[in-house]
Symmetry: C2
Subunit: 207 residues, 2 copies
């Protein structure tokens, strides 16, 4: 479970200042960890492997993150922050210059990409019932979807429709579809796009 | 967690035969337990309270269910079976004589009623990650929704749309909305109805 007292989303601009080299070091280690997840899966992310990949001593990784669990939580935060930054300030299709439905589709696709790469970390974070629905990252995602549904002119109960949309992206559910049912990530992403059209009552060719 | 080896849904007609008085006794106890949940919440369901309510000795309840956890699992099975029977063989709007969208709306409303009454039992059953998405009762619900979407002429990826619809009814999520967010069960049920219309691309007034 993540430390909810850490400098977390939605406090994008309220991070505790780090010395420049410390911040660079942290980013180096988290990028190495993210690469390991993408290349060899989450089980390959050990303190030793991250140290080797980043070209630092193992002690540096331990001093920075304390434990593998601390590292995984930091990695999840790091990825959440990057996605948040992309949909708040980034270029289209995620960012504010794209139409709301385009952004909604891109948001779901981006989150599904995260799930397939970092699914186990996300699922572990969702594991605790209180956390599953109360994490700050989830609140930011939910608020983003609500805003997009409003902007798209959806006339229903947008707060609850957003809850349903976000439930479709939940790591545990997505991993179950991929691993237990053998459904491809592409098919899940295509269904997300169709779902976004249905919820906003638009045609598939009319974003 | 439920005993997945028990005579379970979808084996409606494959129950291990019970002697008639034993079956009657079991039903008497489970009806008493269901009444207790409805009247005073799930925490009120103790072996003693069920015995008192059913007018039998406490030993009878222990012999039948072994433990409170065994009782709660049996109660969940009992309720799942009743719902399954209603949508497979019962009268409209749940049963086969109603149009598919009407049945879909009624199914969601019935399941939401179950969640608000027996939510803690359901949530405990959903608690284990493997069980959450692999229980036999969930498979039956999923297949039912898929059939209804087919019958309603939905042209999308009905298997995955059904997964999303069922996710909206998940006990943990529904309880979070009711208890943590203070959203009324009526509002959640109304949103379900709207959602069913959106997914099947029908108007709210055109079931």
């Amino acid at each position: 479970m993540r430390d909810v007292n850490s400098p977390l989303i939605p406090l994008v601009d309220a991070e505790i200042p780090e010395r420049c080299d410390a911040a660079r070091n942290r980013k180096l280690l988290l990028d190495a960890a993210a690469d390991l997840v993408a290349e060899r899966g989450v089980d390959a992310v050990t303190m030793e492997a991250v140290a080797a990949k980043a070209g630092v001593g193992k002690g540096t990784v331990f001093r920075r993150f304390g434990s593998r669990s601390g590292l995984m939580n930091a990695l999840l935060d790091h990825t959440e922050r990057e996605l948040q930054h992309a949909f708040m300030f980034g270029p289209p299709p995620l960012g504010p210059d794209a139409p709301p439905l385009v952004r909604l589709i891109a948001f779901g696709r981006a989150r599904l990409d995260m799930v397939t790469v970092q699914g186990d970390v996300l699922r572990a974070a969702e594991g605790s019932p209180e956390f599953r629905y109360s994490g700050p990252a989830r609140a930011v995602s939910l608020r983003h979807i609500v805003t997009l549904l409003h902007d798209a002119g959806v006339d229903g109960d947008v707060d609850l429709l957003a809850v349903v949309l976000l439930a479709a992206l939940e790591a545990g559910l997505v991993l179950h579809q991929i691993r237990a049912l053998g459904i491809s990530p592409e098919r899940i992403a295509d269904n997300w796009e169709d779902l976004a059209h249905r919820i906003t009552r638009t045609g598939p060719g009319v974003p």
